[in-house]
Symmetry: D2
Subunit: 139 residues, 4 copies
């Protein structure tokens, strides 16, 4: 079972990363292996033509995966991203983004997982990423 | 439905890539999105200590994903790998390797997917990869 | 020789991606293979502790590499990122970021290169990325 | 200065990885940041059409980067690959392969670098990879 709830996680983000503009991120599901998030589409995320920018997708990936790890390790963990590899596969629709993260390894020093992003209501994924976080030793 | 069967694929490999030493690769499942393969462990794949080498895992990933694409496009396709990103997560056991590939996009010019590898009988995965293949234009 | 100058590129960005907040990005060098950019550090890029967020580094990578390709192809090109792989290696200092991009391939359908980021005045790099852009066919 | 010489490294490989078939790999340059290797082209590396297989390029990358790290840490180090990301950019010629590796970070727990491969005599690179190795704690 995760040691932090979705509400705990969003409060932690709000207090520690006020610049991140995450306030609208919703956590729709969380367990000890997976997370499902929803990002409402805002005008500032849009590129000309109504699509959503690559950096927004990368931010969503990094942030959501951080929350998934934090949920398992608790709020003191200072995990940092060491690798992020993302394939952009389709142009996102101007709709909410749905993201699903999956922990493939939660080791003592490294956490590895993948993250898939869809436009709400569209079957084929927009992007798929793998992420590695380094977990600092306990003090 | 795939246009090539597992038997077609292995025959194609055998005729076109005799050096690849693929003869023992078994295709346990194949559909229009996924493939499941089994690689019996041979001594020549082993490293000291009885583990399986990283290059063997990369070869298995590349070859299996090629078969998955070939199954959809038919034997004339000359798809070539353009990107392979692999995370090695656990030391493989000296057991058969099980690999599962999943097509995330099969476009006109690019195919993208991921591939997960397990040691037979062990729940946690050994490695996870994402692969991109370029699909040449039809003549 | 590039077909667009640094001034052309920044004007293009300003007109087409007003949301991107790129206005302070400076192009210090540009030729037919490489680009060197400088990003002044703003408060909104900072994380607690004065460091620069991962998403800022990913945005800088993606944007700079886009400019490098655009410089070669001209303003009509609608290149889109298909893959971005980044290794975060050191905590950035609260200093300007310096980025250097290098085209390794500029093909008809794909452009590939790498991008290294430093904190100004520090020898060891902060991050290193590889990027692939798909280049649409000429109409 | 590296603590192992090219001759030391090849002897270590020969004794510890006899299956790897590395015997013809030559180390043309080695310092505390970089390595340059040459792989003579053998028939068993070739694919139909005279090109060199992707798995051979991945093996060359992984092995050479391992040697570069080993040269700095000495023969007791049991570094293991945790991530390898490779972009295949051009079809290799049936010529010797030249590879150049570069350490971007040699930390206490992770080493990160990149590796570029050329066909001997051809200016444009065949492939470019980034590699991460985990370095085990000293006992």
């Amino acid at each position: 079972m995760p040691v932090m709830s979705p509400a705990d996680l969003l409060k932690f983000l709000d207090e520690n990363f006020p610049q991140a503009g995450h306030l609208d991120l919703a956590i729709e599901h969380l367990d000890d292996r997976t997370i499902r998030v929803r990002l409402p589409t805002h005008e500032r995320h849009l590129r000309p033509g109504g699509t959503i920018s690559g950096p927004t997708l990368m931010w969503l990936t990094d942030c959501s995966f951080y929350l998934l790890i934090l949920a398992q390790l608790g709020p003191v963990a200072l995990a940092v991203t060491t690798n992020l590899n993302i394939n952009f596969m389709r142009k996102p629709e101007p709709a909410d983004l749905i993201g699903e993260g999956r922990l493939l390894k939660l080791g003592k020093t490294l956490a590895v997982g993948d993250f898939t992003i869809w436009s709400d209501g569209v079957k084929e994924p927009v992007a798929h990423a793998t992420v590695t976080y380094a977990i600092p030793p306990k003090r």
